[in-house]
């Protein structure tokens, strides 16, 4: 029993990834995340375009700011700043850091 407890605490945090996935819409200003995929409900052409814009699996994304009136939201994706409405960010699945 005690052995297991010691094991867990001695492990570096990265090796027990807290696999919390959520839609991109939940990100707050300043949050970073890793994209895990695009929801299957997303129409194929939209999925294609999101991919071309850099919203592909494994890409890292950062929420930069929300527009003053609440929508849209500006993200840093790849090497560019892009803004999306929640209708699109709802499709994008991200993995949140611990």
């Amino acid at each position: 029993m005690s052995e297991t407890a010691i094991d867990v605490t001695s492990l570096p945090p990265a090796s027990v990834p807290p696999r919390r996935t959520a839609s991109l819409s939940v990100l707050r200003r300043g949050d970073g995340a890793r994209i895990v995929g695009i929801d299957a409900a997303c129409p194929a052409p939209v999925m294609q375009r999101l991919c071309e814009l850099g919203f592909c699996a494994d890409a890292t994304i950062e929420c930069l700011r929300r527009a003053p009136l609440g929508s849209p939201t500006v993200y840093r994706i790849g090497d560019a700043d892009l803004c999306l409405r929640t209708s699109l960010t709802d499709y994008i699945q991200v993995e949140l850091p611990a």
């Binding site: 850099g54 003053p68 009136l69 790849g78 560019a80 892009l82 803004c83």
Partner: protein, 640 residues
């Protein structure tokens, strides 16, 4: 043997090659295109959509090539009807265009990772390709790195680094472009069908060119912290829009006055030298006046496009779209429609032209159709005349003058109905065929004078050549309607104001006015108001002077007093006053909604590339205006 149907100068290279310029929005494509082709550019619409492509010529003689600037795109797999047309163009499936012989892919070095996906799709077409690498200076400044020679080796195609806005690297690019037959299609095409394999290909290319991505654009970030700030962002936006609006409304007004005076003076000069009174009137009013009626739009169009191009090139237009997106979403449009709607308060003609900055056909059409409802400045003289007759200038409601209150209500009615119209259109006839809203925020950049000049010149030239002719012809027709048949003998002994009233009262326009009586009788309009409505097609404010002329007012521009006492000349209401309160209200409401402007219809025809939308706009808005005016009059009659 391929043919292409070009008019104009570019026919000199009709036997030459066609090269297409492909690239993502904001990659500096237009800048490269302008540098290579100069001002000899032809812009054409694709059939069926409001997407345009420009063609220019590079080089002279037998080696000269035609360069086609395709709309900016993030990929070559079409995801909307607008993008389908671009793909059809590349495949040579469009009538009147030829498939390009080679592709020139413009790549922004600071977003190389993403752009390689477009490069891969271009290479996969198996056409000879070359890459133009832009923003390399920006990549260096932001601490990034890439080896252009290694990129050429990795892709197997020529790579030309340029700094588009400074023209650096352009001579080498031009030489390389004319040597396009030496470009080789790569031996091994990139794996574009499988995303995982494509990602692997992209990573290997990035590795071979020693790519180090640029750091975030720190300057732009700091600016965005202010420009998109919940308070300061909106304050700056309001300030920018006030300046913008002032320029096209207040600054343009005196310039338009000069144009009108100049053409009035020229018309007078011409009339004085022509003995035949009808011919004199044709030259002074019809021809010179008609030309003035076209050129009077120039100050607004030049100012609007100067500011619009500046805001777009700097990168602020994208920020403005972010700020206003929430508001415009109510109407089913996105933030990019805001500036067009705002411009339409000055005049729908530049407003409709400004929809060119919108990438989606569907949103452009919705904005164009809503724009004529915005309370344009030509309505103001009509509103002032009619509210002046309806409400005494001294009437007050609390601290507010009632006249100002009435004007405010008319302006609000126009703005709100424009938003409602857009949302109805987007939910019905324009429902399908778009992508959800996404927008890239490019780093703030300084534009060059050259790029600005080009972006102002292109719409101005289009307006003069394509829209100006329609307006000129329409104005001539209107002049003929108001003038013929001539009454020289009958009016010989009359005073000038009586003579012009007599001619007008017996003109073709008067017959039309009489013919329209059954249509407008329920609104309380008599045949003279109907003549005014016909003449208002030239420009809404002409309504005032035409009514003045019909009523034989001494000063046709200020006909209030004469109109107040004007009575019906025939029919069941003979002898009763025409301008009663319910009729004035009906007329005001009619002017809020009616599509009474040939210039707007002409520019809508040009920008939408079909008569279908202007016809739709004219019919639906005229019906709407009639019904709304009838309702307003009925309510007013019931209350008085």
């Amino acid at each position: 043997m391929s043919h292409h149907h070009d008019g104009g100068r570019s026919t000199t290279t009709a036997t030459g090659a066609v090269l297409a310029l492909v690239g993502a929005p904001n990659a500096g494509k237009s800048s490269v295109f302008n540098r290579l082709t100069g001002l000899r550019v032809r812009t054409a619409n694709y059939p069926g959509v409001t997407v345009t492509h420009s063609t220019g010529v590079v080089g002279d003689g037998p080696r000269g090539v035609q360069l086609v600037d395709l709309p900016g795109t993030y990929g070559l797999t079409p995801v909307s009807p607008d993008e389908h047309v671009v793909l059809d163009h590349l495949a040579g499936r469009l009538p009147g265009t030829r498939a390009p012989d080679a592709l020139l892919v413009v790549v922004d070095a600071t977003t190389l990772r993403r752009s390689l996906s477009l490069v891969a799709q271009a290479l996969a077409t198996a056409l000879p390709c070359a890459v133009v690498l832009t923003m390399t200076d920006e990549l260096d400044v932001r601490g990034g790195h890439l080896d252009a020679a290694a990129l050429s080796q990795a892709l197997g195609v020529p790579v030309y680094p340029v700094v588009g806005h400074r023209g650096r690297g352009v001579p080498a690019l031009r030489d390389g472009l004319l040597d396009w037959p030496t470009w080789q299609a790569p031996a091994l095409l990139p794996p574009v069908d499988d995303r995982a394999q494509l990602d692997g290909w992209i990573l290997s290319v990035l590795d071979r060119v020693g790519y180090r991505p640029a750091g975030p654009p720190t300057g732009s970030r700091s600016l965005d912290r202010v420009l998109l700030h919940p308070v300061w962002g909106l304050v700056t936006f309001a300030a920018v829009m006030v300046v913008f609006f002032q320029a096209i409304f207040t600054l343009a007004a005196p310039l338009q006055g000069y144009v009108e005076s100049l053409f009035g003076w020229l018309g007078g000069l011409a009339a004085a030298d022509i003995a035949n009174p009808v011919l004199a009137d044709l030259v002074s009013t019809g021809l010179i006046g008609g030309l003035g009626g076209v050129l009077v739009f120039l100050p607004q169009i030049v100012l609007l496009f100067t500011l619009l191009s500046l805001l777009e090139a700097v990168g602020y237009l994208a920020r403005a779209a972010v700020l206003m997106d929430r508001v415009m979403a109510i109407s089913g449009l996105d933030g990019r429609a805001f500036v067009s709607m705002l411009s339409s308060i000055a005049c729908a003609v530049p407003g409709i032209m400004s929809t060119r900055t919108m990438p989606s056909s569907r949103d452009r059409i919705a904005t164009m159709l809503a724009a004529p409802l915005m309370p344009c400045s030509a309505r103001l003289p009509v509103y002032l005349l009619l509210t002046g007759m309806l409400v005494p200038t001294t009437a007050r409601w609390g601290p507010f003058g009632l006249q100002g209150f009435a004007l405010f209500a008319l302006y609000m009615a126009g703005g709100i109905s424009a938003m409602i119209a857009a949302s109805v259109l987007r939910a019905t006839v324009l429902r399908r065929g778009g992508l959800p809203f996404y927008l890239e925020l490019p780093p703030f950049r300084m534009p060059t004078l050259r790029t600005l000049a080009q972006s102002v010149w292109t719409p101005v030239r289009m307006f003069l050549r394509k829209v100006g002719t329609i307006i000129l012809v329409a104005n001539l027709v209107l002049w003929a309607l108001l003038t013929f048949p001539t009454r020289t003998a009958e009016t010989a002994t009359m005073s000038p104001s009586e003579a012009s009233a007599y001619t007008l009262d017996h003109s073709v326009a008067a017959s039309i006015g009489h013919a329209l009586e059954p249509v407008y009788e329920p609104l309380g309009f008599d045949w003279r108001i109907n003549i005014g409505l016909v003449s208002a097609m030239a420009a809404r404010e002409v309504f005032v002077s035409t009514l003045g002329q019909v009523a034989a007012a001494q000063d046709p521009e200020n006909p209030q007093d004469v109109l107040r006492t004007m009575t019906f000349t025939d029919g069941e209401h003979v002898g009763e006053r025409v301008f009663t309160a319910p009729t004035i209200i009906a007329l005001l409401v009619y002017f809020v909604f009616a599509m009474q402007c040939i210039s707007t219809l002409a520019v809508m025809r040009r920008e939408s590339n079909s008569w279908r939308w202007p016809a739709f706009s004219f019919v639906s808005l005229t019906l709407l205006a009639w019904v709304a005016a009838w309702l307003a009059r009925s309510v007013a009659l019931a209350l008085t």
